[in-house]
Assembly symmetry: C2
Homo-oligomer: 362 residues x 2
C-alpha cells in the first residue's frame, strides 16, 4: 500500500452546461479564458478562440461592451464550435442580442438594475436554455455593499447573494458564481465563505493577477487552496496578455494539486551535495522525451540513495543514481543495475513500454 | 474602509534560532535553500552559498554525506556568515564533527537508531546551543511506519512524533520539524495533521518538486495553502538545479499570499475586448521601472473603466485607461485626466514620489 488516499472531498454542486461542457456536480473541472482582441475584430477574435482551443481551453469568454460587438459576436459564434460566454455589463439590450448565439451569459443583475430589464434577459436565457454567471468582482461592488463592508470578502459574498436573489425570484437557477478579488486572501476567503450558503457551481479565479510569473504564483496559491478544499467547478487563470500560458498554468494547477491524473509527473530531487550524476540534464531529457504522453505515469529521477528507493516505490518507473552505477526500478521492483551512462537510455525504453500499456486513468 | 482585514491567523510556535535568524513564535517566515555542489568542493560550495545570500536566502543547508564533507564544511563555515544547517543521515559521527561549526543540524534520530549515539549528538547540540530539524521525508519513512501506514501523511506524522520523542526523552526541545512528500496533497495533509499535536516550528516544503515550472506551481499550492492556514515558520521551495529561482519563488509565495507586504504589487487586468490601450506593454514598463522598490506599493494598471475605478481605491496609485484618455488616481482620488500617451510617464512620476515617502511597512 503505497499511494495515499485522495484528501480532496469535492463539494457537490448543482450541475449546468455551457454548450456541451458540463460544470458542477461530478463534472471534471473545466478551464476557461477570455479573448482580448476587440470583439469587432472578427478574424482576430476567432484566431484567439482557436488558439485557446488548441491550448486546451474548454470554454472562451468574449467581451460585449457595445452593440457592434454584440453583432460581431453573433458572426463569431457561427464560425466556432467552442462554447462561448458573453461578458456583459450595464446594457441589457446586449444580452438580448447575443443570447440566441452564445452558450452562456455573464452579467450581474445588480448592474443592470431595473427589474423589468432583468426579467427580459432571464426570459431570453430560459428560451435559449443558457446559464448565467453571476460574476462578482471586488473592484466593482454595488456601492451599498462597498459602503457597508468595504472591498472585502464579506462585501463580495453579500453582493453575490443579492445578485443571485434577483435570478431566483424569477425562478431561474441555471447559475454559476464567481467572486474575484485581485489578491489571494480576499479571493479564498470569499469563495470559502459563500460555499456553504448556496449550491451553485463556482467559477474560481483571481482577477487582475498580473503578469506571467506573479499570476502563476497567485493563481496557484488561491485556486490550489480552494481546489484542495473541494471548492471550484470551472476555473480561470488571469494573466496580462498571455492566452496559452493561462491555460498551461490552469492545467498545471489541476495536475499538480493531484486532481487530474493525466500525463507524466516527474519526481526529481532538488540536487544537493550527495548528488551522484548530472541530474539536471537527465531530468530535462526525461521531461522533453515525455511531454506528449497522456498516460498517467509517475517517473522518479533521483540523484542518490537517501530518498531514491522510497520514492521509486510510488513511481511507475525510476532511476536511482549511485556511485558509478545505478538502478532502474519499475513499480518498486529493481529490474536492472547499470553503469551510470546506460541508465537514462534504459529509463526512456521502459517509459516507452509503459506508455503503450493500457493504463487505468481513474 | 477599503483594505480587507488579514485572514491569516498565524499559529504561534516555540521559537528557536539558526544563527541570528529567529524561527517560530512571531518571527518573520524565513527562506532557505540547499547547495548542490559536492561539499568537498569548498570554493564551489561557498560560491553557491554566496549566490543564495545575494538572492535573499536567510539560511543555507549543506549535505554532509561522509567525513571528508564534514571536514570541508568546517572550512566552509569559517568563510561565510550565512547560517548553515548540516544535513546528516545514518552516521552520528558526522554530526559530532560538524556541530561546533554549523548553526543547526538536520537529522532523524530514527535513522541513527542507537540511543547512546543519539544522546552523543544531542549532548553536542546542547553544548554548542544549536537546534535540530527533524526532517521526515515520505520517501524514507522508517519501515515500521511505512509497513503500517504506507507512504502516507499519517505515516509521516507518526514518524515525526516518534523522532521527536527521542529528542524530548533527552530533554531537548530546540526542534523544528518538516514533513515533506513529493506531492501537494500528502504534504499539506501531513503538516495540517501534525500542527495541533506539537508546538514546534515547522519548516515547510514539497520535496523533489521537479523543474522550475511545476515546482513553482506545486510549491505555490502547497506552501500557499499552509501559509493561508497560518502554518509555516521557515520554508524551502525545492527545484531541480535552480538556486536563485528557488528563492525568487519562495519570496513570491510570501508576497503573493499577502504575508509579506514589501515591494510593489501590480494589479493589472488580463486584457479583454474592452481594452482601450496597449496594456501589456504598459504593465511591462511599470514592472521594470519598479522592480527594485522596497516600499510596499499597490499599483493598479487597468485597461478599461469596468473595474478600474474600484481597483484604484485599494491602490496607492493607478491608471484607468479610457477612450483616447485616462485617469491617474492616487489613493482613490483622481489627480489627473490626461491623453493616453501621457498616462504612463505620469504614473512613473507619481510612483517616484510615493517611493520616497516614508511608508508604513506594517
Amino acid at each position: 500500500m503505497i499511494k495515499s488516499t485522495n484528501m480532496i472531498k469535492r463539494i457537490k454542486t448543482r450541475k449546468l452546461h455551457i454548450g456541451d461542457v458540463p460544470i458542477g456536480g461530478d463534472s471534471p473541472i473545466s478551464v476557461q479564458s477570455m479573448t482580448w482582441t476587440k470583439t469587432t475584430d472578427i478574424p482576430g477574435t476567432i484566431a484567439q478562440i482557436r488558439l485557446l482551443h488548441f491550448s486546451g481551453a474548454d470554454i472562451v469568454r468574449v467581451a460585449v461592451p457595445d452593440m457592434p460587438s454584440a453583432v460581431a459576436l453573433k458572426q463569431i459564434c457561427s464560425q466556432t464550435s467552442m462554447p462561448i460566454v458573453a461578458d456583459i455589463h450595464f446594457n441589457y439590450r446586449l444580452a438580448l442580442e447575443v443570447a440566441p448565439h452564445v452558450q452562456a451569459v455573464r452579467f450581474n443583475p445588480g448592474n443592470i438594475g431595473d427589474k423589468n430589464r432583468i426579467k427580459l434577459i432571464i426570459d431570453r436565457c430560459k428560451e435559449f436554455k443558457i446559464p448565467v454567471r453571476v460574476g462578482v468582482n471586488c473592484g466593482s461592488l454595488e456601492s451599498k455593499f462597498e459602503d457597508k463592508y468595504g472591498q472585502t470578502a464579506k462585501g463580495m459574498i453579500q453582493s453575490a447573494l443579492y445578485n443571485i436573489k434577483y435570478l431566483e425570484d424569477l425562478d431561474f437557477r441555471d447559475i454559476k458564481v464567481s467572486l474575484k478579488a485581485s489578491d489571494v486572501q480576499r479571493t479564498v476567503e470569499a469563495y470559502r465563505g459563500l460555499r456553504p450558503l448556496v449550491d451553485y457551481a463556482f467559477h474560481i479565479g483571481v482577477t487582475e493577477a498580473g503578469t506571467r510569473f506573479h499570476s502563476t504564483v497567485k493563481s496557484s496559491i488561491a485556486l490550489g487552496s480552494l481546489l484542495l478544499d473541494g471548492i471550484g467547478d470551472t476555473m480561470r487563470v488571469s494573466m496580462t496578455g498571455e492566452l496559452e500560458e493561462e491555460i498551461k498554468v490552469a492545467k498545471a494547477i489541476l495536475k499538480d494539486s493531484g486532481i487530474v491524473k493525466d500525463g507524466v509527473n516527474i519526481i526529481s530531487c532538488p540536487t544537493c551535495g550527495r548528488l551522484e550524476a548530472d541530474l539536471v540534464s537527465a531530468v530535462a531529457q526525461v521531461e522533453h522525451a515525455t511531454k506528449d504522453i497522456k498516460t498517467p505515469l509517475n517517473i522518479s529521477v533521483m540523484g542518490c540513495v537517501v530518498n531514491a528507493l522510497g520514492e521509486a516505490k510510488s513511481a511507475d518507473v525510476a532511476i536511482a543514481y549511485g556511485k558509478g552505477s545505478g538502478l532502474i526500478i519499475k513499480k518498486g521492483e529493481i529490474v536492472a543495475k547499470l553503469p551510470t551512462k546506460e541508465l537514462l537510455p534504459r529509463l526512456l525504453v521502459e517509459i516507452d513500454k509503459l506508455k503503450d500499456d493500457n493504463y487505468d486513468t481513474a
